[in-house]
């Protein structure tokens, strides 16, 4: 049994290609895949940054061809699909341990465009659930994905990879959470519009920010943006009132002189008691007079401040990434061990069946000779079963341990010979997906 992963991501394919192959509902595709002979289990992960198919197969070459054909001909629709020759340049492939490691890295957000971003774990869980629901995910890939989720949890709790925001928008949210206890009852004021202010506002909304007002030189032009955020658009003449009501101000408006002056903001603060005001100035040139920072209860951060924090976090995060990679490596080896231990399952099962059949035979023979013992059949059964279990315990445990190692096959072969397991029995050549911890 081999694990094969074929896919494309933001590292190998442009967005224009990825968006054409993105899959909204993976279940029909997965059902089709697992009914083919080459694929036993499959999980399809499709996000805006990656489309990856993880498969379990007994025939690696055939599965490889099947998955390539899947990307070339079955993903995306009609003319929108990139030419097959182009597609090959965007695809990557991992097998065995590399594939496992890749899945663990993806779930842990180490392969994400923004390392540590939290969404990928949820997306991976959704992909896993969809595969389970349509019966495409069996015990081995199921175990791999469960292991990936556990790895992601370890990475999140044992390192700070996910804790340090490295985008300007996330830094702004993080700062807001250091100032305000709860964003759900706070009001934001967006002055002007820009990609970064909108991203920051979206991030604040994700964290529960209650309401938004938008102020612009021409309110009509701000209407579409206001509609998107469920807000109202206002003219700049309403700024004094809007400032007095706002808790967070995001500003990015063209102008040669600062729009937010100490006088304007001081007047707005007058009626607010001790409510703090967080001003995020992403305008270039700056929209807020730097003297605002001298006002009590006003926390002013301009683009340079936010970028400096983001850079510092990025530098610290890169140190954490090394720690996270070590966790992934350790977890991957653990999964490798589990997968290898599956080789022992048929032998152990066979050994137990053999011992049980001998035990039952001998009990029957003895009871036939000693009818007085018939009344104690249950006790005799329990005694003999306990003896068999105790005798087998050490060799079975050893077989399981050794099977996790490369050279463990020698022990399996030896056990089959010593206990004559292949005499008169058909040898099973593969795993049946059973957990190696079963049957202890």
């Amino acid at each position: 049994m081999k694990i094969l992963l074929v896919g494309m991501s933001h590292r190998t394919a442009p967005l224009a290609v990825r968006e054409r192959l993105a899959v909204d509902d993976p279940e029909p595709q997965l059902r089709k895949l697992v009914t083919s002979d080459e694929i036993d289990e499959a999980v399809l992960l499709s996000t805006c940054n990656r489309i990856e198919l993880v498969a379990l197969t007994r025939n690696l070459d055939a599965a490889r061809m099947r998955l390539q054909a899947f990307f070339r001909f079955e993903l995306g629709g009609g003319d929108a699909r990139p030419a097959a020759a182009d597609l090959d340049a965007y695809l990557y492939e991992h097998t065995g341990s590399d594939a496992m490691r890749h899945v663990l890295r993806v779930a842990s957000s180490l392969d994400s465009m923004v390392v540590g971003e939290p969404q990928i774990l949820g997306q991976t869980k959704d992909a896993y659930r969809a595969a389970v629901d349509c019966g495409a995910c069996g015990p081995i890939l199921g175990r791999l994905f469960q292991h990936a989720f556990a790895t992601a949890k370890r990475v999140r709790t044992e390192t700070q990879v996910a804790a340090r925001p490295v985008s300007v928008a996330r830094v702004a949210v993080d700062l807001a959470e250091q100032i305000f206890e709860n964003l759900a009852d706070k009001r934001a004021l967006l002055i002007g519009a820009g990609e970064m202010t909108e991203a920051a506002l979206s991030a604040l909304r994700e964290r529960g920010l209650a309401s938004v007002a938008i102020a612009n030189r021409s309110p009509e032009r701000a209407e579409p943006l206001a509609a998107r955020f469920g807000a109202r658009a206002h003219g700049l003449s309403e700024l004094p009132r809007l400032l007095a009501e706002a808790d967070v101000v995001l500003t990015s408006i063209a102008g040669d002189v600062p729009l937010l002056t100490p006088g304007l903001v001081s007047a707005a603060l007058a009626g607010r008691k001790s409510r703090p005001l967080f001003v995020i100035d992403i305008g270039v040139p700056r929209n807020a007079d730097p003297a605002l920072d001298q006002l009590d209860n006003v926390y002013l951060y301009d683009l340079d401040d936010l970028c400096a924090i983001a850079d510092l976090n990025a530098a610290e995060r890169s140190r954490d990434v090394a720690k996270a990679e070590a966790i992934v490596e350790e977890q991957q080896q653990r999964f490798d061990g589990w997968l290898a231990a599956l080789r022992a399952v048929p032998t152990i099962r066979h050994l137990r069946e053999r011992a049980e059949s001998l035990r039952a035979e001998e009990v029957e023979r003895t009871l036939a000779k000693l009818p007085a013992l018939e009344a104690q059949r249950a006790a005799v059964d329990a005694l003999t079963r306990s003896l068999v279990n105790k005798i087998l315990h050490a060799p079975v445990s050893r077989l399981r341990r050794e099977a996790e190692r490369e050279e463990g096959i020698v022990y399996l072969e030896t056990a089959r010979v010593l206990f004559a397991l292949d005499e008169g029995a058909e040898v099973q050549d593969g795993t049946d997906g059973a957990d190696p911890t079963d049957g202890t």
Partner: protein, 264 residues
């Protein structure tokens, strides 16, 4: 038995201190939570010692300085643990745990043996005075601790020395809420403590005011807090000024109530 309980409580508070400090250094949210649980366990044990002390001694409970300090530490710890139900101030444990430890440690080391009562004829006033004043002091102490952290956080945010720290240091708004609530409750209790103290004095000496350094200092501290509460709740003080005032006022109150006794 009561002293043994106090020693155990002091040990648990000390562990909570070390765990929270380690959490701060390692930036660990888990350690902050663990420190809070330890603080809770210490508070339970600490709480058991209060009725035991009361049962053991002929002297009214808490009327010694160290017993009162221990009681303040206990009330302060309970108020902090209670505030966690309403406000996200988990990180305040880095200051509350050391304060709790110092209060109990002082009591465990210097708690006097029970002696004969010296408050004959004064009824329950000593109890009421010490209980109310100590609880007030504990709450105002909690306001002071929240304010210290507020000032540190305010300075950090103003200086832009901000990176994401998973150790859950509270937000400015949460610290300000704790400061305001503790000030309101603490000032009320302190007022009642001062009033019962006067009634106690009158029961003992026939005059409500004896003119001792403790009484003068306490009255002055109460007046300072009265002004502070007026400014705060009258909306004439920003959060930073309120935090700075809470720290200074508590320093003065602590000196007036505890420091004067120690110097005497």
């Amino acid at each position: 038995m009561a002293v043994a309980d106090l020693q155990w409580a002091a040990a648990i508070y000390l562990i909570a201190c070390l765990v929270s400090a380690t959490g701060l250094v390692l930036r660990s949210r888990r350690l902050a939570r663990a420190a809070v649980w330890l603080l809770g366990a210490g508070a339970v044990l600490h709480g058991l010692s209060v009725p035991l002390l009361h049962a053991q001694g002929a002297a009214p409970p808490l009327t010694s300085l160290s017993a009162a300090a221990s009681f303040m530490a206990w009330v302060g710890t309970l108020c902090f643990l209670g505030s966690l139900l309403r406000v996200r101030v988990l990180g305040l444990v880095v200051l509350v745990a050391p304060a709790a430890f110092l209060g109990v440690f002082a009591a465990a080391m210097w708690l006097p043996a029970a002696g004969p009562a010296s408050f004959g004829g004064s009824g329950s006033w000593p109890h009421a005075h010490v209980l109310l004043a100590s609880a007030g002091l504990a709450l105002l102490g909690l306001a002071g601790l929240a304010s210290v952290l507020y000032l540190v956080e305010h300075h950090r945010l103003k200086a832009k020395a901000v990176t994401r720290r998973p150790f859950p240091l509270p937000s400015l708004e949460a610290l300000d809420r704790v400061n305001a609530t503790a000030l309101a409750a603490g000032f009320t209790l302190l007022t009642l403590g001062v009033a019962t103290g006067m009634l106690w004095m009158r029961a003992v000496s026939g005059r409500p005011f004896g003119g001792t350094a403790h009484e003068m200092g306490s009255l002055l501290a109460w007046a300072i807090y009265a002004v502070l509460a007026g400014l705060r709740f009258g909306g004439r003080q920003g959060s930073r000024q309120a935090a700075a005032a809470a720290v200074i006022a508590f320093g003065f109150l602590f000196f007036a109530v505890i420091g004067v006794e120690l110097l005497a």
